[in-house]
């Protein structure tokens, strides 16, 4: 029996405003507990919220970037529930009229095709504080520094049909919010959080009952959690059971999802318009102003990279997937680096090292200028590609600049043709058997000779020159 998976995502993206969405307190991460919460954030008697216009502008930037309908009249509502880290006993959010309406975003699929994913809405809301359960034995500690941090909740249509697609979509949104500068995208710090609504059905059937997966803080876990959930649902349905609508918590340590609350146990949030806040009115002037100030979006950048740099669709897609990678690449090109070499190095050795060490490109120990210097040494034949890889490692380890490493380790490519010819003669004379075999038609042996020469020169010979001289001497 084949099952079809249906996934929709709710992404909470923390907006990069300096101050909170309804107060003047700072939003900076990592301050001492409860030092960045003012009377408004603490929900003191008599305080009132005042909307941060910057948060509105950021929501509008997002809406315009996904071609969404902007609701020029939107309303803040109160979502009422009790929790110790929710100071007012309600969260100010948007319910019936969100600021951003229906939009869409294109994602690349594995088969090379593209797919449009619908965005149902995106609304502004305030974050809650943090409950810390493991600090004291008998108490839960509350840190309200995060309370009131602006969030943009981005809700997708149930348009994804695999965990991989869901991750691609999430990455695309992750990239976009960083492109337009509204979110730092830091998943460890919780700046970008995903909840997944997952259901399965037989092809052609109506939508199945869904489970909402929460507490997912990396793309890897998103994929794992969805796959786990799909398996769980298939098992239940194939055993003749039925799916219960519920919220399930993903446990990354145990790699399992478990029920948090069922639909029956769900809060009745008693939404109603917040009488402390006026409806948000967006005029055409503000909209066109924000439209003008939008930076180049990923798709636009990709098209430009293909057109201006002659990159392949695949390379352009990869290089523009993250704004910081695109910027890194572009600053190399701007210095005059070779396009193909730059692309290969950024997507190859650099990406691999960054991934391996879990470092973001903006924190790379090798700057764009330094990588440019390295590949320039390849272009001008100072070093071979193979030596360059060794130098890259040394640079990564902080052993100095390209010049210093080449100098100190004596890695400069041999340019003395006479000396090279001497070494090649020696190799040819020491391997008469192989020379005979080569002359008898075993052309594969050329590689053997090249290898011997490279070994004898500690890799400093230029492979092209070696090839050419060998061919001359052996023919």
């Amino acid at each position: 029996m084949t099952w079809e998976t249906v996934i929709g995502l709710e992404i909470h993206s923390q907006l990069r405003t300096k101050s909170k969405i309804f107060s003047g307190a700072s939003t900076a991460f990592g301050a001492k507990p409860n030092t960045q919460a003012c009377a408004v954030d603490l929900g003191y008697p008599g305080v009132l919220p005042v909307l941060n216009k910057e948060a509105v502008n950021m929501a509008l930037s997002f809406g315009l970037a996904v071609n969404a309908k902007i609701n020029q009249h939107s309303i803040f509502a109160r979502k009422n529930y009790f929790y110790p880290d929710l100071p007012k006993g309600y969260q100010i959010s948007q319910f019936e009229l969100p600021i951003v309406g229906q939009g869409e975003i294109e994602i690349p699929l594995e088969d090379g095709q593209n797919k449009m994913v619908g965005i149902t809405r995106a609304h502004l809301e305030e974050d809650a504080g943090k409950s810390i359960h493991d600090l004291y034995d008998d108490f839960t500690a509350i840190d309200l520094n995060r309370a009131g941090t602006p969030l943009l909740e981005i809700v997708s249509e149930p348009d994804m049909s695999s965990a991989k697609e869901a991750v691609t979509y999430a990455k695309k949104i992750h990239s976009l919010v960083q492109y337009i500068g509204i979110c730092d995208g830091n998943m460890q710090e919780g700046s970008f959080r995903c909840d997944a609504n997952v259901s399965i059905r037989k092809k052609g059937d109506e939508l199945g009952t869904r489970a909402e997966l929460k507490n997912i803080n990396s793309f890897k876990f998103l994929e794992k959690a969805i796959n786990l959930e799909v398996e769980r649902q298939i098992d239940i349905l194939e055993d003749g059971g039925s799916i219960v609508q519920e919220t399930r918590l993903y446990d990354a340590v145990k790699n399992e999802t478990r029920s948090m609350r069922s639909k029956e146990e769900a809060n009745d949030y008693r939404y109603f318009p917040d009488p402390d806040l006026l409806p948000v009115a967006i005029n055409d002037e503000l909209l066109s102003q924000i439209k003008k100030s939008l930076p180049e979006l990923p798709t636009e950048k990709k098209i430009r990279f293909i057109k201006d740099f002659g990159l392949s669709e695949y390379d352009a897609e990869n290089l523009t997937a993250q704004i910081d990678i695109a910027d890194y690449f572009e600053s190399m090109i701007a210095k005059g680096a070779d396009v193909k070499l730059s692309a290969n190095w950024v997507m190859g050795d650099l990406s691999a090292s960054l991934n391996k060490n879990q470092i973001e490109i903006q924190d790379s120990p090798i700057s764009a200028i330094e990588l440019y210097e390295l590949i320039t040494k390849i272009s001008d034949n100072t070093i071979s590609g193979k030596i360059a890889k060794d130098i890259f490692k040394s640079m990564w380890e902080g052993k100095g600049s390209v010049e210093e490493i080449i100098e100190n380790q004596g890695l400069k490519q041999m340019t003395d043709i006479d000396a090279l010819e001497g070494i090649i003669d020696e190799v040819v004379n020491n391997n008469t058997l192989q020379v005979q075999q080569f002359k008898d038609g075993n052309s594969k042996l050329l590689g053997f000779f090249v290898g011997q020469v490279m070994k004898a020169t500690n890799g400093k010979a230029n492979p092209k020159q070696v090839n050419k001289i060998l061919n001359d001497k052996l023919s």
Partner: protein, 481 residues
């Protein structure tokens, strides 16, 4: 007899050095000390005297405003830094506010003198001041009777002249009704005129602050100080504040008064009606024209209000959860127990009743039938007024269907809610409303209500002042024990 002077007179006395602010303040503190009305929850003697000293220095330098050095009583719903701010509730009995309400700040900037914080119905929910954790306030005209509510402590204090004026808040009549029952002047301006920042919220879309004073002229002076846009309150209006004292002297000849027929139907005590009609005749004698108008939806004001206000309060009062400040029950077993007992023990019955009504009305499946329907009716009530104000300048009628009733005699909530029948509409429509002393029924004061169009405070104050130039109801004082 400094306490018999209005703000205008007191201000003159301070300026002429007839008395100092310290002397004046001591005089009031002495009167408060012997008062048995229970109108103050907290008396801030030390603070008052130090504020009075500062005011005297300022006055000596020839600086300061008309209000500098004037003592006042602050309703205990306004946050006052370093001073207990209880909202009449056990829940906040231990709450010392860490900040000042915008109004408090404005008064401080003018070097006014806060005598103390006045008693009130818990979280401003009530019409008799019997819902206070600190006990009922007595009406100075008859100490067996209620002063009205929720600003009962403020009204009683001004009526007994143990404060020259007091602040109040009016969500459904909480300034006008106690002003009426205590025989003083009170105005609730247009919604948005005065900042709500630091005013503990009951029903945010209805709450509005205002002064309770001896005269309309005093009300204009205090309103000048209280009004204006506040960037801490998104619902405060950016509209410029006029000088409310400027047009007090205008003639009201040709003023068109509307009498809504719905305000003179069953339920209105005949003696109260008689007083109201006599004051209307007074206005006619002054050259005003009287027209009958209709507010057909005003009958729905009570059910509409008692949906909207509880819905908003059920959410506004969620923050009182025993977690960060205020009352917390002893030895909570777990989180649920902490919430349940802190709130059950910390809130009084009427507050709990309204929280439950509101929670119910906002619940899934009931929202459309209650909250949304109420909002629609609210709009219709507004439209009624809009129509009426096409033909008249000011609407007049009773404030309350009865005079002050005896403490403990109105036992069921619904009968109590009926006391607000004439005042609720102005809040639902966001209109300015005023109560001025209009006469007596069985030696108890009766207030005349004036309702104006949006932003017509100047007209209301002018009309009230002209009436007070012709009558002396506002200068009648209760006999002191």
């Amino acid at each position: 007899m400094m306490h018999k002077l209005s703000i205008t007179e007191l201000s003159k006395g301070l300026k002429n050095k007839d008395f100092s602010s310290v002397e004046l303040t001591k005089h009031y503190l002495d009167r408060i000390a012997v008062s048995e009305l229970n109108s103050y929850i907290t008396v801030t003697d030390e603070l008052a005297l130090s504020q009075a000293k500062d005011a005297d220095l300022k006055i000596a330098k020839g600086k300061g405003t008309i209000l500098t050095g004037i003592p006042y009583a602050h309703k205990d719903i306004f946050c006052t830094k370093g001073v207990k701010t209880s909202a009449g509730s056990k829940m906040l009995d231990s709450f010392i506010s860490p900040y000042d309400a915008t109004i408090t700040e404005k008064f401080n900037n003018e070097n006014m003198v806060m005598l103390g914080k006045t008693n009130m119905d818990e979280f401003a929910m009530g019409s008799s001041n019997e819902n206070s954790y600190y006990g009922p306030v007595k009406n100075p005209w008859d100490q067996k009777r209620v002063p009205g509510g929720s600003s009962g402590g403020s009204a009683a204090a001004v009526a007994a002249r143990i404060a020259p004026f007091a602040t109040g808040t009016d969500t459904g009549g909480s300034i006008r009704q106690p002003a009426s029952l205590c025989g003083i002047t009170g105005i609730k301006p247009t919604y948005g005129r005065i900042s709500r920042y630091g005013m503990i919220a009951y029903a945010s879309s209805l709450d509005q602050a205002g002064p309770l004073t001896q005269t309309a002229e005093d009300a204009a002076i205090v309103l000048n100080s209280m009004s204006g846009f506040d960037d801490k309150d998104s619902t405060s209006a950016t509209k410029e504040t006029p000088d409310y004292t400027k047009n007090l002297g205008n003639s009201i000849k040709g003023l068109k008064i509307g009498l809504p027929r719905e305000f003179f139907s069953e339920g209105l005590e005949s003696d109260v009606e008689k007083v109201i009609m006599q004051s209307i005749s007074e206005f006619e004698a002054m050259g005003a024209e009287v027209h009958e108008v209709s507010l057909p939806n005003s009958a729905y004001a009570i059910p509409t209000y008692y949906i909207v206000a509880p819905c908003e309060c059920s959410s506004n009062l969620s923050r009182f959860d025993g977690v960060r400040y205020g009352y917390r029950c002893d030895d909570p077993k777990d989180l649920n127990d902490l919430y349940l007992r802190s709130r059950s023990e910390g809130f009084g019955d009427e507050v709990k009743r309204r929280i439950m009504i509101g929670t119910y009305a906002l619940s899934a499946g009931y929202y459309d039938a209650y909250y949304l329907k109420a909002q629609k009716v609210r709009h219709l009530i507004s439209e009624d007024f809009k129509k009426a104000f096409k033909s008249v300048d000011v609407i007049m009628g009773p404030v309350s269907p009865t005079t002050a009733f005896e403490i403990g005699t109105v036992k069921d909530s619904v009968s109590m809610y009926l006391a607000d029948i004439y005042t609720l509409s102005a809040n639902l429509a966001g209109l300015p409303g005023m109560s001025i002393p209009a006469g007596f029924s069985n030696n108890l004061p009766v207030g005349l209500q004036l309702i104006g169009n949006h932003w017509s405070e100047e007209t209301l104050l002018n009309v009230a002042h002209q009436f007070q130039l012709q009558t002396n109801w506002h200068s009648q004082l209760p006999v002191e024990p």
